[in-house]
Structure formats: C-alpha cells, structure tokens
Symmetry: D3
Subunit: 265 residues, 6 copies
Amino acid sequence: MNRLLITGANGNLGREMRTRLTHLAKTIRLSDRGDLGEAQAHEELMPCDLADKEAVQKLVEGCDGILHLGGQSVEAPWEVIRSANLDGMFNLYEGARKSSVTPRIIFASSNHAIGYHKQTERLDAKSVTRPDGLYGVSKVFGEAIASMYHDKFGIETASVRIGSCFPEPQNHRMLSTWMSHEDFVRLIERVFIVPRLGCPIIYGASANAASWWDNREVAYLGWNPQDSSEQFRAKIDAEMDPPAGDDVNAVYQGGGFCGDGIHED
Amino acid sequence: MNRLLITGANGNLGREMRTRLTHLAKTIRLSDRGDLGEAQAHEELMPCDLADKEAVQKLVEGCDGILHLGGQSVEAPWEVIRSANLDGMFNLYEGARKSSVTPRIIFASSNHAIGYHKQTERLDAKSVTRPDGLYGVSKVFGEAIASMYHDKFGIETASVRIGSCFPEPQNHRMLSTWMSHEDFVRLIERVFIVPRLGCPIIYGASANAASWWDNREVAYLGWNPQDSSEQFRAKIDAEMDPPAGDDVNAVYQGGGFCGDGIHED
Amino acid sequence: MNRLLITGANGNLGREMRTRLTHLAKTIRLSDRGDLGEAQAHEELMPCDLADKEAVQKLVEGCDGILHLGGQSVEAPWEVIRSANLDGMFNLYEGARKSSVTPRIIFASSNHAIGYHKQTERLDAKSVTRPDGLYGVSKVFGEAIASMYHDKFGIETASVRIGSCFPEPQNHRMLSTWMSHEDFVRLIERVFIVPRLGCPIIYGASANAASWWDNREVAYLGWNPQDSSEQFRAKIDAEMDPPAGDDVNAVYQGGGFCGDGIHED
Amino acid sequence: MNRLLITGANGNLGREMRTRLTHLAKTIRLSDRGDLGEAQAHEELMPCDLADKEAVQKLVEGCDGILHLGGQSVEAPWEVIRSANLDGMFNLYEGARKSSVTPRIIFASSNHAIGYHKQTERLDAKSVTRPDGLYGVSKVFGEAIASMYHDKFGIETASVRIGSCFPEPQNHRMLSTWMSHEDFVRLIERVFIVPRLGCPIIYGASANAASWWDNREVAYLGWNPQDSSEQFRAKIDAEMDPPAGDDVNAVYQGGGFCGDGIHED
Amino acid sequence: MNRLLITGANGNLGREMRTRLTHLAKTIRLSDRGDLGEAQAHEELMPCDLADKEAVQKLVEGCDGILHLGGQSVEAPWEVIRSANLDGMFNLYEGARKSSVTPRIIFASSNHAIGYHKQTERLDAKSVTRPDGLYGVSKVFGEAIASMYHDKFGIETASVRIGSCFPEPQNHRMLSTWMSHEDFVRLIERVFIVPRLGCPIIYGASANAASWWDNREVAYLGWNPQDSSEQFRAKIDAEMDPPAGDDVNAVYQGGGFCGDGIHED
Amino acid sequence: MNRLLITGANGNLGREMRTRLTHLAKTIRLSDRGDLGEAQAHEELMPCDLADKEAVQKLVEGCDGILHLGGQSVEAPWEVIRSANLDGMFNLYEGARKSSVTPRIIFASSNHAIGYHKQTERLDAKSVTRPDGLYGVSKVFGEAIASMYHDKFGIETASVRIGSCFPEPQNHRMLSTWMSHEDFVRLIERVFIVPRLGCPIIYGASANAASWWDNREVAYLGWNPQDSSEQFRAKIDAEMDPPAGDDVNAVYQGGGFCGDGIHED
C-alpha cells in the first residue's frame, strides 16, 4: 500500500500496531485525539477528532488502507458513544466515499456486538447480533454502516469482532476470547492482500481450544491464527479461581459487560 | 391496557392507528412534533420532540404499551436521522427503563434494514441485515437497542420490519411488500395479547402471494394476515409497466432506496 | 384393515376414538385395564394390563393396526411410569415383532417430550427432545423404542406428539396445542392409508394460528388439519386472564408440567 | 410478449398449452417434429428437429419467450436422449444467445431429476439431485445448461421440475405429484410477468395435500397453485389398490422409473 | 473437587479411570456391584447395586462430581437393561437431586444411541437419535433423564456418547470410533473445570481421521483430543480384512449391534 | 486390488498417477487415445477412444478399480465435450454395469462444476452446482451419471471436484485450489480402502489455508490432506501481482473459465 491510516493510534492496540505494520505501506498515517509522540521516518502524524467531519475528510484523503481502531472502546454514556462511534463512523465512511482513492477498511468491531449469546453457543458470521450495552450497539451500528457502504458504493470492509487483544489473557473468560498481537497482524496482512475482500464479519481470536467462534465463512481469507491461549491456562488457574457457574463471566460471551447497567452521564 | 402511547401520531400511519386502536387501552396517549388536532374523550395529547430526553421521559411514564411510529421515516441527512432515530430511540428506551410501569413496545422498523437482499431471496428473522441507506442503518440500530434492553432489562419489543403500509399497493414492488392497515391492527393486537413476547423480528406484510418474507419464527404470536395484494395486481398492471428486470425496483427488496446516494446536508 | 387394536380404550381419548374409527377396520379390538362396557357388533373386548408381557402378546396377535393410547398419560411416580410406559411399550413392540401379522402402529407420544422448549421457539421433527418430567422422559423412551424396532425389524410407527386433544381448548396455552378429535381422526386415517409410513415424528395439533410446531417433515402423509383453536379464543379470554409473562404456562411449551417437581411414591 | 415459442407443441402438454396461452403473446410460434395441423390466426408453425443446430437457431430468432416442452419426455436409449435432450438443449441455448432478442425461457425439467429421493423426504430447490435414469440425468444436464447460460450470458430460465401434468392424477403416487393444466398456466404467466426471474428451480405441482416438495425458494414469483389432487383421492381409491409399502411407486419420488433398468438400443 | 464418585469402578473403563483421575479430587469414592479390591489412601469403597434406590442415595450423598460408568454396558435382556440402566439412572439422579451437594455428572452414554445412522453420515449434537438395540434405547433414556434434571433442577451433565474406549482400536470400524484413555481423561478434566457446563451431548472419540462425529457444539469446553487411531491402521490391516461393503460393520455406525436381534430372557 | 484401470493415462495427471499407484493393484491397466509408451512389468496398455462403446466395454471388463481421468479436461467446442465427456462417461458406466466384476470408480470431476460460486462463499458437498462452461456442465452431467448408477445398480463412485493438481500452485487463485500429487494419491488410497464408499462428492484440494471448500460430508473416508499451498505464497507473490479485485480470477471460484465465452466449432 501507499498510505495506511491507523486511527486510535494512541490506544493500547494502536500503539502496538504502529510498530508492527510498517511493512504494509510506504507511509503510515497516524491519528488520535491524544498525543502521538514523535513521528518516525515513514510516519505522518495527523491528530484528529473523529466527530469533526471536515477533519476526518482530510484525514482519510489519499489513504488506500485504513485500520480503524479509533473511537470509544469500552462502555460509556450515550453522548460519548454517539460522538466517537456513531458520528465518527459516519464521518470516516463519508471521507472514504469522497476520497480520491477508495480505501479498504478494517473496522475494529467487538465481541460485545454479540455479547448476550451464552458461552455454550457457537457462533459464526451469520449469527444474529445480541449487543450487551451501548458500546455493543454502536458496533452493530458500525457493521451496518460498513455493509451499506459496501452494497451502495463498493467500499470493502473487514469488520473484526475483536475478542481480547492483549499480550496475555487476563482471566478465564479470555482463554476463549484472546487474540495475540501477532495473530491480529497476520489477519491485517491477509485483509490487505486478498484481491477481493467483500464485506465479511470476522471473529478476532487466536486458535484457542475453548473458542466459541467459527470463522468458516471467511476461510477464503487464508488467515490461520498461530497462537493459542492454552499456554496461559495454568498461570491463570494459579492466579485466580474460575468464575462461578452463574457469574456473568461464565454465562455470557460478553462477560462483565452483560452485568452492567447503562452509564448515566 | 391502561395507557397506550402512540408516537408519530401525526404521520400517515399514526393517523390511521389513532382511530383504529381505541379498543386496546383505556387511554391513548398521542405524541408528535406536529399538530395533533383535538383530543377525543379517551385521548391524551403530549406533543414531544423525541430528541429531548427529559420530555421523552415524561412521555413514556405510566404507559404500559408503546407503538413507536415516531422518528424519521424516509432517507434524510445524517443529522436528521441521528436526532430522530438514534437519539430518539435511546431516549425512548431510557424512558421505558426508568418508568414506573414497564411498557411493552412495538418498534416500527423497516424493510430498509434488509433492503440490499435481492428479490429472489427469501428471508426470515435470522437473516443477516443489509441496510440500504442511513435510514436503514438507523433501523438496524433501533433493533439492536431493543435487543439490548430486552437482554439487559427484560423490556419486550416487537420489531416490525414494515413493508409498505398504505391503503393500497402503489406499484409492482409493493405487491410483495404491502401490509393492509387491518393486518397491521391485527398484528398490534397479537403483540399486546400474548403473555410472553420476547424480542422478535417480524416482517410486516399481508398474506401476499409474491412475498419474500417468512414469519415462521413468530408463529407463536398467532398473527394471521388476512389480506393479500393480489386483488390489486390487475389495477397496477393497468396503470403502469412493471420495472425492467435490471431496475433497482426489480432487483433489490429495498427498491428505489438502493439506487439512491447519501443525502448531503 | 382387518383388525385394529385400540389400547387405553377406556381413557378419554380412547372412548372418543372407539366410536369414530369404526370405518377403518372390520373388527376393532379394544383393551384397557378398566371397564370396557358392552361390546358392539364389530368389537372385541380384551382387557389387559400392558405390564403383563404374555397378555400383551395375545392382545397384539393378529392385528394389522394398533392405536396405542394406553399407559400412564400424566406425570406419576417412577414405578407407575415404568410399568405402564416402559414395560408396556417394550411388551407391545415385542408382541408386534412376534405377531403373525406385522401391525402398523400409532404411538400416542406427547408434547411433554419437548416441553422445556420455550414458546417462542418453533419446532419440527428434527428438533432435539427436552422432556419436562418422568412422563415426558417415558415418551422419549417410547419414540426410541419405535425408532429401533423400525430400523431393526421394519415395524412402522407414527409417533404423534399430541398437544391437547379435548373437545375445546381449556386455557390460553391450549390455543397453541389443541387438536380437535376430528383432526386426530383425519390423521389416523392418513397413517393407515399411505403405502409407506416409515417412522415419523408428528406434532398432533390442529391448524391453530398460534402454533409452535411445524409438520413440514411429514407433508408426504397428506394430513391437513381442518380445525383451528381461534374460534375459541374469545371464550377463553372471557373466562380467564392469560397467564403472566413469567408463568410456566406462558414460558414453556409443556406448560404446568415444567413447574412441577418429581412425584415421590 | 411479442412472440412466444412453444417447442414440443404436438406433445400432450404442448397441445394443451397451445390453446391456453394465447393471451400471453401476439404471436405463438409452434414447433415439433410431428404434425402441427392447421395454423390459427395468431400462430406460426415451424416444424423443427431440435438436434438440427441451424434450424433451431432460426426457430429461436426473434422470440422473447420460450416454453421448452420439446425433447424426449420419458426414458429411452442413450442415442435418443442425447439427440433430443442434450444436443437439443445446447442448440436451444446457443440459439437464444445469438438471437437478436434475448428470450426468457421455461425449461420443462422433471421430477425424475430427483427421483431417487424417498417419498418420506421433503425437498426444496437446494436439495441435491438424484436422477432416476438417463432421462433424469438429461434433466440435470438441462438445468446445468440453464444455470451456466444465466451466469455467463444473463439468460433467465425457470426450470420447472414437472410432477405429473395430466387432466387428473392417475394413481396414488400422482396424488403427490399432480399439477393441473390450470396451475401450470398460472405458473407460466408468473414467470413471464415478474420483472426479474433469475434462474430458479421450481417444483411443478398443484397444492396437493400429500406433496413432497417445498417451493419456498420461489415465493417471490407469486405463484399460488389453486388446485389440489385431494378431490380425486376417493376415485383413485375406488379404482385401484395403493401400491404395497415396498413397491417403488411407494418408496421413491420417481416411482416406476426407479425400478427400470437402462434402455438398450 | 472434594469427592468424586466413580460408578462401575470395577469395569474395564472404571479400572482405568480409578488410577488416572486421582488428581481431580481429594477423595475418590468407588462403587460397583463387583469386587473393588483394596482401598488406596485417597479412596472410599462403597459397593452398591444401582437398582437399590436407598443405597444409591447414600452413595451419591456428599459427592461434588460423578463419573457414571455403571450399569449394563452391552446389549442384554430387557429386565437387565431396565434394572441397571433405567432404574439405575433414575436412582442416581434422584440421589443427586436430594444430595446436600449438587454434583456435576458425566454420563457414559454410547454411540449405540445413534447406531443406525449410516457410516457415510456425519453427526453432531443436534442429530436425531437412532438407537440400535435395547442398550441404545436405554442410553437415549439416560440422556433424556439428564436433560430433564438439568431443565427442572439445574443439575449439569455431560452425556458422552463413547465410541470405543480401549487401549487400541480392535478392528476397522474402531478406526472411526476409538477414544484413547488419555483423551477421555482430558475430556473429564475439561468437564469438571469449565465454570458452566450446561447439559451437552459429546461424542467420545479421539482425533481420528475417519471420524463420523462433529463436536462443534461443544467447542466451548476446550477439549482437544490429542490421539488418533491412524497409528494403528497398518496393524489392523495386517491382522484382518476390512468388512465387506454390505456388512453391518461397514454400513452402520453402531456396527455389529445393528445386526443383532433382541435378547430374549 | 487385482486390476486398476487408469483412463487418460497419457495426460499430465495420468502420467503422474501411473508411477505413483503401483502399490494399489497387481495389474495397472492404462488407457488413452495418445501414446502410452512402453509397458512396465505390472502394466497392461489398452489404447482406447472413450467414445467407442464396444472398446470401452472391453477396457472396463475385469477391473475392480477405475481411476477415470480420461476425457476432455478443459473447455472445448460442444462436439468435443459431447464425445469425450458425455458419450465417454455413459460408455464407461455401461461397461462397468456389464462387467463381470463391479468396479469402484473415481471420477475426476472438477471445480468448474461449481465455478460460478464466488470466492467469498464456502461450499460443501450439498452446495448447488453452478458450472462455468460446457466443460463444467459435462462434469455436472458426469456426477449425475455416477449418482444414477449408484442408486440404480449399486456402483460406487467418488466424484472428486479437482481444484488444481500440479506440482506447485501457479497463481494466486491456485493458493486456494491446489492439490498436491501426494494428497491426491492419499485420497485415491482411501477411496479404495474404505469398506463402504457410497457415492460422495469430494473437493480435491490440499489443506490450503485459503480454501473455499469444506469436506465435512466425507470425514468418514479418513482422508487427511498433508500439504498446503502456503509454502508457495511468497514465491507467487514475488513472481506476479495478485489479480485485481474485480478480475474473474479474484471473483469466481472457477477463475478464468468464468470470463470465457462458448467455444464455437
């Protein structure tokens, strides 16, 4: 690629990807509301509020790839979700539609779009959504925007329902949802390499033994996660008790989010 | 019911329902941004902007049933959709959650939530969404809100993907999508009568021969549409040519919406 | 048919069928543990305890059709269920296997074999069983016996998961489960007329608007229920309130059975 | 339509359709290898051997609709099937591809394309084929030709797996497979009226109670068969015994064809 | 666990598990009708006839895990099956229900619950049962008991349809059905470790290349069989011919059981 | 086996298999229209035109296994396809039916039988066919012949929809479709070893990361491809650009065949 835009580049996941994707494009354009530090040789820094439509238009212009990690990444009051994840998503796709180069987009969706499914269910890309909060609803919205811009304008998006993308799983539930940074990088490579992407839904998890998710619908991507959470099981077992059988962390795929109420302002 | 709220009571569908649902509740509370005329004996008029959270809270308070027809009902610029259908939907469900009486809700969703499916496909409640514009995206969002408030707080909603609810079908596509006012009334009765509703997706169409939609997942409601668009076929054939085979009105379930672009402000 | 055996002929359903099936066979052989009254011209009375293997052997001998209504028909202690529905079923099929004429059998199974499915689910013959008590478990057992004797010995059985076979539905749940006596007779006729029966699972309900059950797998039988419970809805609405939304009668297909415990001796 | 071509116009079904479809086109072009009699005012007679590629090219030229009833309509030796149904089908579609007007085509496929499915199975358009002889194989071939010319050249075909299209069903099996002439006419009308046909598989049977076939995939056509074989059941029961349970006419959907061998020359 | 009960501890599988599960509980309580030998330090020996309800009640009391291997493990006359597998199963679950500690249970079900499915079919947990004898019927019964006690009382059971659990596969059919002792131990560990088990159906087989069974529904358990029967193929090929293509051992999943009759007393 | 016939033994794939299958039969009978070179000790050379029915009868006589690689293997004019793939297939199966030994057959079908499915779809053996040319249609025909001869005469065939069987994948599309010669040999071994084959559809591809095909329906064969195209990805990336997203090689599973027209004579 010529220019890859990473939004949310100052978030945890954004900082990881900033250093791991340098082989994918000549220039990496980085954006965030927060501090982006020093630009490296191949980097462009473009701080931007995703709720600012005109700024987003400039941000997107000229990029042939976008890794959209930006926006609100956990539950929050409605106004926060609305600006960051609804306005932000709309602005990004309007920018993409009007850009002189049509970008291919990876949208960081979330397991919280399907969080109220039980852990004894097995989901694939055709499963109905069951969001577990306003954050999850905003991800269903984002996937709908991606679907519509694909059907109407041909913009291709990979919506990745990310499980838990950390260096290590941090509790028993994450033994099912964990995705290693390396596996995420492998997925990003595949999305930008395949000649025809379409607009798939992808579950973002490593090859965990205790997975609930089935990526059979996107076999054509050729993404093969290489890591597994099993190597961390003994460590987690040693550090904490598993949740009780009727704990939301043991019942629902979305875990703790399912037990929370709505965030008042 | 004690008190049934009808939002959007000044719209076409709202005005029809205002006169046809009087047997369902002791009091009908009517709301709209526009003029609501004179209150009848059993009516309460409460003009309200759905984007006004506090007003909506008062509007919902004390209602045990809500027929939510309000909001933007065709494609429009983002800001309009956002206020009417995103803020409005959130405010309505927050109102329901905080109300002293938990209402059962009928949400007027739309075929435009699945509009980019082809007319040669047959859909049911488990089919993936494919919205055909910002309006359609807002309906996917609305169904997600309903799903989440059901899973999290137990509020029951019937999301009705309304086809074309007019006195008569007006073109060839509507021979597939038409729902008579009488059949809609029958559906509303069933939704409020069954002891356990859950949170179903319902396709709102009469018993049309040329239907694309299969309500098998909601057989338990006992709704049997009695009307059929076939009686109007000859009339429509006489009035106009059918669309060409590659016309969006013949290709996609969402018809003309699928051929339109995004409304700029 | 030459000789049709009706077991449980002194039960409510047995007494109805005794008078309605006279056109199906030259001789109707009637059996029950209880009093069978006076034999009509075309009738043979053979009182019999289904737990008595030798007696059952004689009972079955020479019959080319069996309507097996006998056994325990509601929840009961284990010993009662075991004798009537486990021993009884085994004895009946051993009798059929050893008989000089291989009979075709209708087994009165029950909705309680799938009673813990929720009323918002739609079942067909492939749905997994979820029995709602020892009685329901005995019906799963009976269907398994029928399946095995079909695969191993070619004996054909129609297992009918009877809903509620009364003159009229008696409460709101039965608006979904009711089967008229006339529709049951129509079904019995079809089972004995089709040249090849196989070993189907059939949901025994009239053409009720509010059905939860789908008989698509047995379309080849040509059974078309003619009655519907809707005609009784107003009467039931007038006589009683519908169950509350969280009442077992509104939640589970098996209704009240799902709320009961195990019958101790 | 301007000009509708009927091939096989001298066959039983062809002669029926010749008189029943006059409202569908200004000119009906009739073709057969056999005698076509006198031309009526609106008719063009063009005798033609379907195995003659050049003649077929002329036959198809200028037709906007084709009802392809021609070819070999029962089992026959390979050379007969090959000429009439393989060469004939190829020639017809090559003709259609090269014609100055692209026709919409109805292909008279057959239940013998799926004849080895058992009568206790229920099929829809997605079921795998199981042809019951060379004739059935030729129909699978024909559907494949239709599919390929649709995907490659956009020619639309309705492949109708005709059951038994006679004035009355003639035996017990036909109570499941019968299609009245009137229902076939209704289907032909729908195929030529809908703006977008695609390339569907349709089971050609009336609304028979004992059907094995499910047309759910083509609900969008709006075809509602009005007749049912049930009215003839008593008559057939009076005229003949039903086939024994292990007779091919009672076991397989294709009936007697399934018991036959291969026709040697 | 505090106390794990193993029933059938003197059977082949029971003796294996007695020595391999010592890491799972502080105390292993062992039961059988036969001789249990000397108790090891961490063992409790409680000989018991499963048909003796009161004895079973005492046996179960205080156990937080049960591995139910007891009962009749091959085809037998009805009275034997009934006592060991029907009475025994009922008594065990009544014991569990009344125990001061609710145990989690592993029920040794069997491939003979689905034995009449052909070897060319692929099954998962939703496939219909097709028992291949009285033994297989008793396993369908057992799974029904487990399902009912889960829905009614919340007792969690893993019903494991064990294929062939021997040190090595012993014939060609077992190349498909074999489960190594090590893989069974791994499964038992997973069942007792996951916080929420539910009431799943699990196919008990190693990662055999020629498997007929798909455990996709229980991916959430995180059970990954590590062994494969392929390593024994050459040995079996050398020792015996494969069964002929129409031998029951080559046709049905249940193998030889499918060719046997009913055991008379 | 006693005698294995390989047709098309002078083709690319035939020459490979000639040397790799010597362990499978005492005698390898080789056939082709072209030059077959020198016979090795265990070989019989029988040049033959598959369109010559009598010659094919002699060719097949006495073989207990057939690897049918013969016929036209790429798109060609109708007459060529008809002789080689329609007549040839019919002749082969008539030969098999009349042979004194009933052979088991491997039919080299092709991915072009399903070529018009998009690369974003995932197929299994139950997916509908979508041939991408006359060659693809002839493979659908061949699978239908195999199905019919199995249902009617019990002849067992493995129809292998071969992807791309070359020493190495030669372009990006083949990273999805490639099958190594070694994996094909493994498949052939399994087909001839299993006691009961039936008449399965098998996708012939190695364990490629980017596969579109799911062989779940034939797990019972125990075929485990060992190779993967991923090892060649870097090489192909270095040698050529991937096809553009709207290139037929990136859109359809059949690749370039989907962009071609019909071959005129």
